[in-house]
């Protein structure tokens, strides 16, 4: 027995021994003034591999952030989501349906050929192909929009109707300008190769391992660093550990908890980036389901405690949102309020007092937010007598069931909508006519589509009367219920690199100021 006691004793003694060790957080100490040093390599631990590389067809946020490092769009967003020049140095609006862009003279693709108006025209012809328009096309007016070259540096867009989404849509990752001459000649396959006007060009890539980018010698906006190495690190703990031991300099996190998790690492700058993307609860109202009855959907909308979702599932990091993402300055506030009594009476009225349904959500590696939101919804709906079964599904299965099948093979799902750079852009998701992916679960409502189209065409600021009417109608329909915004956390080692992180983002582009990333010389020693 003695030996057993001794072994047990050793176990108890271990923490005692360790208390003699210094804690890691206390080591390192203060740092002197930091100065940016040009050149060198910066390492970005990226949370997900970019797999959809062809910009017009790419529909994955995890590809957009890389696309936006390699390519440039005509216009981009500043830190307040205003549209500012990028490849287009200026533009005129001769009429509400006409835009004329002048291209930068110094924009050159990374293999040395200058950008021409033909590249722009051909890029958008791919989007607007009447036979097969891309899903992005609806933001710029659909196939009725025409694009033409006025001269080598000037491009004109003509729209069928005024569009409030047009300019901000041009800043999206899907709207970057491709080297169409090479692509049309067949020498370049945009689904496997990336060749753009952006600050970096791809030197090498090992699938699921790393990208190695080097400075684009012809870039009109030259980066501070010579190389950007991007290891793919889906595991959160790997990224945290790597930031801690210095094997990466900067990393992005989907977990709203990241600031808490990173708090023990010294010399780390942690920035919560507000994003226009927002989480939604999508109810499947197509087919013979209780959700075909608007009262049941409204009851769910009244039953959900969105403030609790923000507080608990988002760790206070995001905002409760309406149809127009709360991240936009001056967004339309949501008209939905938690009201359990009304929810219960609506359910009783509709004849579903003990409703039971299943929420499916995706299992992206490390992304626990969808599950957390689902569980909070489950808790708050339990209070109005509704039983929610939560099922985590592998991403491909979820896609098939929720977005591909018609009608959708689900009761409900928690997901997020990309809201891009224009406040009204995401509104199209409530109209199956404008957003084909919604056909399987979103009720066809010509009136609502009409309201959304009117909002898109109305003149004025964000909160036009038309936009307000559309937002209210959407929330009354309660087919897809907006919940909270989806923030992103970016952290970097302030003792090793300097970085400029935008506090507000609309295009899933945490590395928007990638050209400002540079190594740091720390003073003091």
């Amino acid at each position: 027995m003695l030996r057993a006691l001794l072994t047990g004793g050793a176990g108890i003694a271990v923490p005692g021994v360790l208390s003699g060790c210094a804690r890691r957080a206390e080591v390192g100490g203060g740092i002197g003034p930091a100065t940016a040093v040009p050149g060198g390599t910066v390492i970005w631990g990226k949370s997900a591999e970019a797999i959809a590389l062809d910009p017009p067809k790419s529909n994955l946020g995890s590809s957009w952030d890389l696309i936006q490092v390699i390519y440039d769009p005509l216009v981009e967003l500043d830190d307040n989501l205003n549209v500012v020049p990028a490849l287009a140095q200026s533009w005129q609006t001769p009429s509400p349906t006409e835009y004329v862009f002048s291209l930068r003279p110094d924009a050159v693709f990374s293999h040395g050929r200058p950008l021409t108006a033909d590249d722009v025209v051909e890029t958008f012809r791919r989007h607007l192909d009447p036979e097969n328009p891309t899903s992005f096309a609806s933001f710029i007016g659909g196939p009725s929009t025409t694009v033409s070259k006025l001269d080598d540096r000037t491009v004109r867009f003509r729209l069928a109707a005024p569009s409030r989404t047009f300019l901000s849509a041009l800043s999206a990752a899907s709207a970057v300008i491709l080297p169409m001459k090479e692509i049309d000649a067949g020498g370049l396959d945009p689904t496997t190769e990336m060749l753009g006007t952006g600050p970096f060009l791809v030197q090498s890539h090992e699938q699921d391992q790393r990208w190695v980018l080097v400075r684009n010698p012809h870039a009109w906006r030259s980066p501070a660093a010579d190389r950007l190495v991007i290891p793919i690190m889906p595991d959160v703990n790997s990224r945290i550990a790597a930031l801690g031991n210095g094997s990466i300099d900067i990393a992005d996190f989907d977990q709203p908890d990241a600031p808490l998790l990173l708090s023990s690492i010294p010399n780390l700058a942690v920035r919560v980036q507000q994003c226009t993307d927002f989480f939604v609860l999508t109810l499947n109202a197509c087919g013979a389901t209780p959700f075909a009855d608007p009262r049941v959907r409204q009851a769910i909308a009244c039953g959900i405690d969105r403030e609790k979702i923000r507080r608990v599932a988002l760790a206070d990091a995001g905002e409760v949102t309406g149809v127009v993402s709360a991240a936009f300055p001056g967004a339309i506030p949501s008209s939905l309020r938690r009201d359990p009594d009304r929810a219960r009476s609506l359910l009783a009225e509709a004849g579903h007092p003990n409703l039971r349904f299943e929420i499916i959500y995706g299992a992206t590696a490390g992304d626990t937010v969808g599950g957390a939101i689902t569980q909070i919804i489950q808790q708050s709906l339990a209070e109005i007598g509704v039983t929610v079964v939560a099922t985590q599904l592998e991403e491909g299965v979820l896609n098939q069931r929720a977005w591909v099948s018609v009608p959708a093979q689900m009761d409900a799902t928690v997901t997020y909508y990309a809201a891009f750079g224009g406040p009204l852009m995401a509104m199209r998701n409530w109209s199956p006519q404008l957003a084909p992916f919604a056909v399987g679960f979103q009720q066809k409502d010509p009136h609502l589509t009409e309201l959304i189209t009117q909002a898109w065409q109305a003149e004025g600021g964000v909160v036009t009367e038309a936009a307000r009417r559309a937002a209210e109608a959407i929330e009354q329909q309660a087919n897809t219920i907006p919940l909270v915004t989806k923030p992103v956390v970016v952290a970097y080692r302030s003792d090793r690199v300097t970085a400029k992180i935008s506090g507000l983002d609309g295009n899933v582009d945490p590395m928007r100021h990638v050209e400002a990333l540079s190594r740091t010389h720390v003073g003091g020693r």
Partner: protein
């Protein structure tokens, strides 16, 4: 006394039945066996009776997020502000019950295959043995991953994985026991008297395999709990908001530097549960060897 020829005399007239000793006094003078039994009763009790205990609601977000142990939340809270005390308690039940169900299945199947192997032709027996050997040496996690790829993550995947892991040993034990018993004289006597396979299995094989199989069951349950812990830790097993000890450890892993108790407490409880079953199994086995 109408039908006493098979059931025996009435209880009063009957001398005390002497059941096999090892079952009557499980761990004569073995402190480890008693320790294991105590732990086992305690953990199973908590795991099953936790809804009746004043531990709190395992599913309600009532406290601060990811907090360490405090007077109000004895084991701390999780990332949704749920108290870990009732969550750990219900997780114990889930872990033990999942493993027990799986082992029950493995035992039924294993004993059936073991009995067949003992009675089958040499070629079939060899085939069973080979397949078992291959399965036995296949990495546990590989099996679990394959199962969850086919079935999708969830309780059924966890159960099938535990069955797949514990079945080979169960077949080995059952086959060895069955082969041993089939050679015994009383089985031959029964065969000569006209007994068919079903009769022999029911009357002679099963009752005499029981002890060895029970010992193997305790080991299998403890192994099953380790397997469940592993695959739920990897997110392939039990899914939220349902939880098991492995799933808690997996969720707590993210907060290891912030609230180490979130990972360490369920991990420790898992270790205790595994230890309890192993101690009981070890004690039973030591007893058998002495006999």
């Amino acid at each position: 006394m109408t039908d006493s020829s098979t059931t025996g005399a009435p209880a009063a007239a009957r001398p005390a039945r002497s059941a096999p000793r090892s079952l009557r006094i499980p761990f004569r003078g073995d402190p480890l066996g008693w320790l294991g039994l105590l732990l086992l009763v305690l953990l199973v009790g908590v795991g099953i009776l936790h809804p009746l205990l004043p531990l709190g609601d395992p599913l309600a977000s009532v406290g601060p997020r990811v907090a360490g142990p405090s007077a109000r939340f004895l084991l701390g809270t999780d990332e949704l502000g749920r108290s870990l005390l009732p969550r750990v308690a219900s997780a114990i039940g889930v872990t033990i019950v999942l493993s027990a169900i799986a082992v029950l299945v493995a035992t039924v199947v294993g004993v059936a295959i073991g009995c067949c192997a003992a009675y089958a032709s040499r070629r079939v027996d060899q085939l069973i043995t080979r397949v078992t050997d291959v399965l036995f040496s296949f990495p546990t996690i590989l099996i679990a991953v394959l199962v969850s790829v086919v079935l999708g993550p969830g309780r059924p995947a966890a159960i099938v994985a535990i069955v797949a892991v514990t079945l080979p040993t169960m077949i080995r034990v059952a086959r060895a026991e069955a082969l041993r018993i089939v050679e015994l004289d009383f089985v031959t006597s029964a065969e000569v008297a006209g007994a068919r396979l079903g009769w022999i299995v029911r009357r002679h094989l099963l009752p005499n395999m029981r002890e060895a199989v029970i010992v193997q069951c305790t080991y299998s349950i403890s192994l099953g709990m380790l397997v469940e812990g592993g695959i739920s830790f990897l997110g392939l097993g039990v899914q939220a908001p349902d939880t098991s000890l492995g799933a808690l450890v997996g969720a707590g892993r993210l907060y290891l530097t912030v609230a180490p108790s979130y990972l360490l407490i369920p991990g420790f409880v898992l270790g205790l549960a595994v230890l309890a079953f192993n101690l009981v199994g070890d004690s039973l086995r030591a007893q058998r060897r002495e006999q």
